[in-house]
Subunit: 468 residues, 2 copies
């Protein structure tokens, strides 16, 4: 057990929160999207929340906790969905929220402190030079940059740039190790794989450098179809138009849009399956030419909607990725979701097969993305949850049909399926966190020395040995 | 025969050139890259060159020539390679070179007059808002925007944006028809297909609106390999990295780089096959990490080269596309080239097969491009020319192996193979040029009413009916 009084004394003048209600609140994320994680993690709480204001204070926390054998779990804004930032072994929540400055903006790049909010970074890069970040989750308005890098995978923009897994989407990271004398590492290139999507188990990110792209006043479009597969085929067609620029292309099967997108309901019928898009202003005319040819019904476009129509509407990206699930949960708290990869070139056929098998038990939701150079689809289908056994069966049926699942109902890196740990990463953790105090319980390969590092499973972030 | 005196009188105060030597020079392009076209077109010349200064003058020329039944062949800078701007039936060369103003620059778009030079457009859009044009030929420094649209297909930037064939890469065109009373049409969306890559046979383009992208100080890189297929595989690997931004990725087989890239020879060995790249500054570190892993030898990079090393060097893009051929022709005037499509997903295998079949008779040269949403390769291999019969045989062997040829040794749209004419385009020509006076002899379907419009051939710009 952590000796709280001794720890607080050693942490000295840093900003510390120990009110149990607040500490519990800061020990949680959006794990409750999963009925499985809700059952498993609901009790989890830290002992203290420490909020450093700069890297020197981060080092002080890590040195102190190392000395006192106190677990440390880093936290950005707590927008994760898999308990990424939840302290399974208690101890300290290291909140990076107050380290939120944009440090420098250059042509095609920005450096920001770990806790900087994505939308705030964009606000500054747009004002500076009409540039914006390439990739962001649907939690853009609240998520932090280091939280995204350490716990996310991709999102809005992945139709152009792939995911965080892809080299080039993060340029450099400053990382503090948890040792007797913490070191500050500057990681670049393929070394970044050591801490990407590692939930802070391999070091504390204090600064992130990411690439920027040209900023546009993206036009939100909702296109309607009377059949889900027509929506999917149209989305796939436009996603493969090399001359058209989109920031987001998603499909959602009826009746999810009408039932769950309450603010947009006035534009929808219950039988509408939709394609949700963010279209560059200079791509809207040619996009509409294709939409007219393919008989897509344009239900909403933000560039011609009246102020009255737009009043109270969230941006289209807040209907996508896991915001689709969130809007569903607000209407029907019994639903949950899955994360599926529909691989190129069979993604459309795979979606059709799954749609036929499950019908309205698993209403379709696809995010079109670039994956290894081609357009593919990440699925975040709604699941009308009945039992954990049936959920596992739904997962097995997907995998048996060649659709890998990144299981959002697991809190470990390996079982979540996005991150493959291997000998290279384990060796790095032995250096960076020899006592295993960073976000303990999240990396099976560390907890269980007998864990088989080899696997045929598909991982979004493959092990680093495989890439040698 | 054209009554020159009467025509000159009617053209009135416009700028007219009738010095036969200058008229002949302005009746030519780079057709002589092809020994076949050199034999066929060497005698071609117009009667007059007319250089309008604005659209009203263009209308005046077209009205006058319509009345007097004089053929009109439009010309930008004459950088084409297939005799696009060569007046097979004499008459007037309509030079758009003096209509060269950039008219407006917006976010993501620019409008320029037909004769505006691509590099000059970029100079202005960069100064205005750090934007640049998406696609340009290797003749960037001399080619005009309307010449590119009416006679080109793609080029530097096609690795990101596909080609001119792709909807969205040209936003709108102003086109003047050749009728008793010429009309000014504003084409958009799918209508643009009527005049794209039509060599001015379907109307005279006076103004072009194209999209812009963020401008970067691209880093020129030459990477060397001891084996051509290693170069091809590395190029294909980096071209499929979704997180890395390139503007150009090409491969050239040994000994072409050493023998023909004379200004770069000091960096090369004769056995070097090379990958030529333009890399975004923020992509250079991750690119170099991949290059190191895959044992690419970095022979040149412009960001670290000394001023002495860079002195007199052309930019890397002037080693690519048809500049590769040009540099070859300067050293060995007996060579020529082909244009091949190596289709995804078999492009690398196809290249390997062709390389094995032909060896040094057809040294490889690939331009990596996006094509229908995937990375593929356009080939512009050098051909060590012996006879027209052997050239035709080389073409047949490519096609028999599933590699379509866009034959650069033909001056008609259909035989060139890039542009499929069909009933929609013919109907448009009947409206826009009822007397068939625009660039006569280039559209077989017009000249020969029995021409079979149906074809199994692969066309870069497919007919417009097919897209209905």
């Amino acid at each position: 057990m952590t000796d709280i009084a001794r720890l607080k004394a050693a942490l000295g003048p840093l900003k510390i929160e120990d009110n149990p209600a607040i500490v519990k609140q800061k020990s949680r994320d959006f794990f409750w999207y999963s009925p499985v994680l809700k059952r498993q993690l609901d009790h989890v709480t830290a002992d203290l929340v420490v909020s450093p204001k700069n890297e020197a204070e981060v080092i002080h926390v890590l040195r102190t906790c190392f000395e006192q054998d106190v677990p440390v779990t880093p936290r950005g804004s707590g927008t994760g969905n898999y308990g990424q930032a939840m302290p399974l072994a208690g101890g300290v929540i290291l909140s990076l929220a107050e380290m939120n400055k944009v440090k420098s903006i250059g042509r095609g790049r920005v450096v920001a402190e770990a806790g900087a909010i994505l939308a705030e970074i964009d606000r500054q890069t747009k004002a500076h030079s009409q540039q914006e970040i390439r990739l962001h989750p649907s939690t853009y308005n609240t998520a932090s940059i280091a939280g995204f890098v350490a716990g996310g995978s991709g999102g809005i923009g992945s139709i152009n740039w792939g995911g965080l897994r892809d080299i080039g989407n993060v340029l450099s990271l400053r990382v503090v190790t948890m040792e007797e004398t913490p070191r500050v590492l500057e990681l670049k290139g393929r070394e970044l794989g050591k801490v990407m999507h590692a939930y802070g188990t391999n070091g504390i990110v204090t600064e992130v450098e990411i690439p920027l792209d040209a900023a546009y006043d993206w036009i939100d479009v909702v296109a309607g179809f009377d059949d889900y597969m027509k929506a999917v085929r149209f989305a796939n067609l436009v996603a493969n138009q090399d001359g058209l620029l989109f920031k987001e292309i998603a499909t959602v099967a009826a009746p999810v849009p009408y039932d769950y997108f309450l603010r947009h309901q006035k534009f929808l019928k219950r039988e509408h399956s939709v394609v949700l898009l963010m279209v560059a202003p200079h791509a809207i005319d040619p996009f509409l030419a294709l939409a007219a040819r393919d008989k897509a019904e344009i239900l909403f476009r933000s560039d011609t909607a009246t102020d009255a129509e737009k009043k109270g509407l969230p941006p289209v990206f807040e209907l996508t990725w896991n915001h689709t699930t969130l809007r569903g949960l607000r209407v029907d708290p019994t639903i949950t979701y899955l994360q599926v990869l529909y691989r190129f070139p069979t993604h459309v056929e795979s979606v059709e097969r799954m749609t036929k098998i499950f019908g309205d038990e698993v209403p379709g939701h696809l995010e079109f993305i670039r994956f290894d150079g081609n357009v593919a689809a990440a699925g975040l289908p709604i699941v009308r949850f009945t039992s954990e056994a049936r959920l596992d069966e739904i997962i097995r049926i997907h995998e048996a049909n060649g659709c890998p699942i990144f299981n959002p109902h697991r809190y470990t890196l390996e079982e979540g399926g996005m991150k493959q740990t291997d000998a290279v990463q384990l060796a790095f953790k032995r250096e960076a966190d020899p006592k295993g105090l960073l976000n303990p319980g999240k990396m099976i390969a560390w907890e269980n020395p007998d864990f088989d590092l080899k696997s045929d499973k598909v991982y979004l972030f493959p092990g680093m040995q495989a890439a040698e």
